[in-house]
């Protein structure tokens, strides 16, 4: 089933494509000559041991970091020279390994501020949030089972709830591609299942594309149609979860020889 889907997707043009992406920190190659492609509607996993460059890749995609060489195309446009907010306007949203909620604002305000901003004049911001934005924020909070915390300060939420809020903030602008950085870490099993359900729902019903960084192999296996493995900044393997988990190189990278 999954392989079939993948081969269908190969006919489409990729939503996000990287060619020869490299990122160096001094002499350390965090990413070296990485090629990847993500097709519309798929859920792709990104795994690899600690320090393999997964989060750096996310940072390069969301433009917090400059890449040294290579090209990144999103929806057919070269984005490696754009600013982070411009990439966000194009429909790329992400969550963070370290929580980046606005701790002193309420959960609702956090959601409202993550709306789709577009390139609008600053005068359009000089008013309270639009009622439609407000309604969407409340619907998403309900969808993520956070509606009872609407007026709570985000900093008072538990770790798992902050994860869900981050996912909500990433969904708020109705993006096409969502990068989830360890969405399941530090979350209790019940909430993990909630997150899994929500991701599958969004993928199946709304055709959203996901790229997940994850250490939880069960999570990856349940969700992803394709997995991409990084090791020391280089691509180690790519394929279905079953293929990758039985790949000897991957086992060696994770568990040592």
């Amino acid at each position: 089933m999954t392989t079939e889907m993948t081969s269908n997707q190969k006919d489409q043009s990729p939503l996000l494509e990287g060619r020869g992406v490299s990122k160096y920190f001094g002499g350390l190659a965090a990413l070296h000559n990485v090629d990847f492609a993500i097709y519309p509607g798929e859920i792709m996993g990104l795994i690899g041991p600690n320090g393999s460059g997964k989060t750096t890749l996310f940072d390069c995609l969301s433009r917090v970091q400059q890449i040294n060489t290579g090209e990144i195309h999103f929806k057919g446009q070269e984005i490696s020279k754009k600013k982070p907010f411009q990439v966000a306007h194009m429909g790329l949203a992400r969550t963070f390994q370290v929580f980046r909620v606005y701790r002193k604002l309420t959960v609702l305000e956090n959601m409202l501020l993550s709306r789709q901003w577009r390139n609008e004049s600053i005068f359009r911001q000089l008013r309270p949030s639009h009622p439609d934005t407000d309604q969407r924020a409340r619907e998403l909070l309900e969808f993520l089972t956070l509606d009872h915390l609407t007026y709570e300060q985000a900093g008072n939420l538990s770790g798992g709830q902050q994860r869900l809020l981050e996912i909500g903030m990433a969904l708020m602008p109705d993006p096409e591609l969502i990068l989830l950085d360890e969405a399941a870490s530090g979350v209790n099993p019940v909430l993990i299942n909630t997150i899994k359900d929500r991701i599958l729902h969004l993928s199946n019903e709304q055709g959203k594309t996901f790229l997940l960084i994850e250490h939880n192999m069960e999570f990856i296996g349940d969700l992803c149609s394709r997995v991409f493995v990084l090791n020391f900044g280089e691509k180690l393997a790519e394929g279905t979860p079953e293929d990758v988990m039985t790949n000897e190189d991957v086992i060696e990278a994770y568990f040592g020889s």
Binding site: F85, Y102, E109, L126
Partner: protein
């Protein structure tokens, strides 16, 4: 128990009727001043009531020029603290040089009103009346903020603070050195206009405008985005907020309002030189008053300025030699024990912050510093 008392205090001071009553009393206060002048011009008192009231007004002098001046200075401090709070409290960019806009506003007003000692000063920018000159002061300050902010606001945390402090000192020295325009050590004299009630009303109206303006800003998406920048600038940028543009905009707004006040103050003071216009104590006042009231809250600067102004008067009157030591101790007490200021005590759920949190944010781990996480 303590919580209940705090809630009661909050309920009283934020009651809209209490606030309205305070504003009405402030508006009516100068009428006592005028009534006294009127009484003094009377030849004889025609009724017992008039006799008792006028005798009281003339002998007790409840509202004198000095009282009006005191209140005007308090209002100016509140406006300055509220302006500083826009960049320092909401956006989290601690500006140690905000007085530069105050001084520039003062000098712009003086020059536009024709005080220049330079013979070649263009006639077009000379001999303006006070109102357009004050507006011009605001615009000059805003343009300067745009030029300086475009560079300094790209700096993070302490680097911004130090760059702004440097801007203040450098501007002061440049103004002092360009003595044929600024008068150098001699300073500039403005047209003398001694009308305390007028300045009292002008500063009161500006105060009401600025406080309501800040409250309105906070209620808009723009205002929330400023707090988001303070809480997590990288996150805000990646979620689609053009942080650089919003920072520069709020910096210019804040500078514009500070420039206006500077212009008014210069006209009220009738004399200006580089040292009193670019006095760094004014910046310290803004920071301390905002911190005492609560960084990043609308009411904080108002409460903090009022209390500190009153406290300073008491300390000045009773411990002339030590009053600055007491102020320093107060600053330490605020930082250590009431980090979120009075508003933080009164309202636990406010979006206000503390200097400690802002400083911690400066040293938070950013992705570029930690390439090897995961």
């Amino acid at each position: 128990m303590g919580r209940k008392i705090l809630d009661l205090i909050r309920a009283i001071i934020f009651n809209r009727w209490v606030l309205a009553a305070i504003v009405v009393l402030l508006f009516l206060m100068p009428s006592l001043f005028y009534a006294r002048e009127w009484c003094q011009e009377l030849d004889a008192f025609t009724s017992p009531l008039q006799d008792s009231v006028c005798t009281y007004l003339i002998e007790e002098k409840p509202v004198t020029n000095a009282v009006l001046l005191n209140f005007t200075q308090l209002f100016i401090l509140i406006i300055l603290a509220s302006n500083w709070n826009l960049t320092g409290g909401f956006t989290g960019y601690i500006d140690f040089g905000h007085a530069v806009f105050f001084g520039l506003g003062g000098f712009a007003t003086a020059l536009l009103m024709g005080s220049s000692r330079w013979e070649d000063w263009p006639a077009l920018f000379s001999d303006w009346s006070f109102w357009p000159a004050m507006l011009g002061a605001g615009i000059v300050a805003a343009i300067f903020a745009l030029l300086i902010g475009s560079f300094t606001l790209r700096l993070k945390g302490p680097y911004f603070s130090i760059a702004m402090l440097g801007t203040l000192v450098a501007t002061r020295e440049i103004v002092r050195a360009s003595s044929n325009i600024s008068g150098g050590g001699l300073g500039l004299s403005l047209p003398v206009y001694l009308n305390r009630p007028m300045f009292y009303y002008l500063s009161l109206v500006m105060l009401l405008f600025v406080v309501n303006f800040v409250r309105w800003i906070r209620s808009t998406e723009f205002g929330s985005s400023l707090v988001a920048i303070r809480e997590d600038e990288v996150g805000a940028e990646m979620r689609g907020i053009n942080t650089t543009l919003n920072k520069i905009t709020v910096f210019c707004i804040s500078a514009f309002l500070t420039g206006l006040v500077g212009g008014m103050w210069a006209y009220m003071n009738t004399f200006l030189d580089a040292d009193i216009a670019f006095n760094q104590n004014r910046t310290i006042d803004m920071v301390m008053m905002t911190m005492l009231g609560g960084l990043g809250t609308v009411a904080g600067p108002v409460i903090g300025s009022t209390i500190l102004y009153w406290l300073r008067d008491v300390l000045w009157a009773n411990f002339l030699l030590f009053h600055q030591i007491f102020e320093g101790i107060l600053l330490i007490i605020i930082v250590l024990f009431v980090p979120e200021g009075i508003m933080g005590l009164l309202d636990k759920d406010s979006s206000g912050t503390s200097l400690n949190r802002i400083v911690k944010g400066w040293f938070k781990k950013e992705p570029e510093e930690h390439p090897r996480t995961s």
